[in-house]
Symmetry: C2
Subunit: 148 residues, 2 copies
Amino acid sequence: MTDDLVLRRQVCFALYTASRALTDVYRPILDEFGLTYPQYLVLLVLWERPDDARTVSELGTELRLDSGTLSPLLKRLEGAGLVARRRSAHDERRVEVGLTEQGRALRQQVDHVPMCVAQATGLGVTELVALRDTLTQVTDTIHRQKEQ
Amino acid sequence: MTDDLVLRRQVCFALYTASRALTDVYRPILDEFGLTYPQYLVLLVLWERPDDARTVSELGTELRLDSGTLSPLLKRLEGAGLVARRRSAHDERRVEVGLTEQGRALRQQVDHVPMCVAQATGLGVTELVALRDTLTQVTDTIHRQKEQ
DNA sequence: GCCCGATAGATTGTGCACAACTTAATTGTG
DNA sequence: CACAATTAAGTTGTGCACAATCTATCGGGC
């Protein structure tokens, strides 16, 4: 068979597997806080400006997720008491998502999480930064092509 | 906030996003064959030795997926007429998954797919190989830690 | 030969992802 | 102002992932 079709040769498979492996590292850690990885990502965005609410589509732009994914996820975060949702006063179509006090407080508790995970990769800081930048570049290239 | 908690700094987010972006590239291509990306991965394994059947757990080892994921996926591939499943004669617990003639024939048609996708990344061959190897290393490191 | 633990696969339930569609609100244009 | 086109979010349906559980089979020790 064509060599290119061999599983182990494919970058995409390496990416798919590495992504799931890293999520596996996050799972037991985040589980202590009752969070899933995508829920944690939403909180990361909100923690960047803890006092500002974001609309669902702003969160979607940051995380590249649509309302079909975010709507139920945000409902679960709201159910957990970590975020509050309310319709925008200016534009009733928008839903503004903000942190609750509990959601803000959680930030300190998960402070150590990224370091734990980075360590699990076995890579040094330089390699991690290089890897991240390569991946970001790939993602951006793909999305630029999509838009055209 | 702690810099480490900023979304854009995190390798894991870059990985998560890049993985989804690449799957996005695959989707319209594989859609023509009625395949999803994980289904395509199963076929890649089977195409490596087109005349040999594999058990569900062998596929699971290759792809790092469990029967909870594979059982329904294989049923769908069987429904599409691409694979055949049958209980092993030696060991009635095992289910052997083999390609049908149609499944073998599909191989030629998807021959060009990896090149399309590699091109979409915007990376050269050298960079792709380096990226793949780094990712494989990360995955292996994580899995080795798990086993201990 | 019979039980016990281990193994293989299937099933159930939860939570993403994503496409397709729906509803409601808003904006632009005549 | 009216109304068509657009936009924001939610809903529905499909298909992974994965944990937990279940069933059937197998293998070893007695």
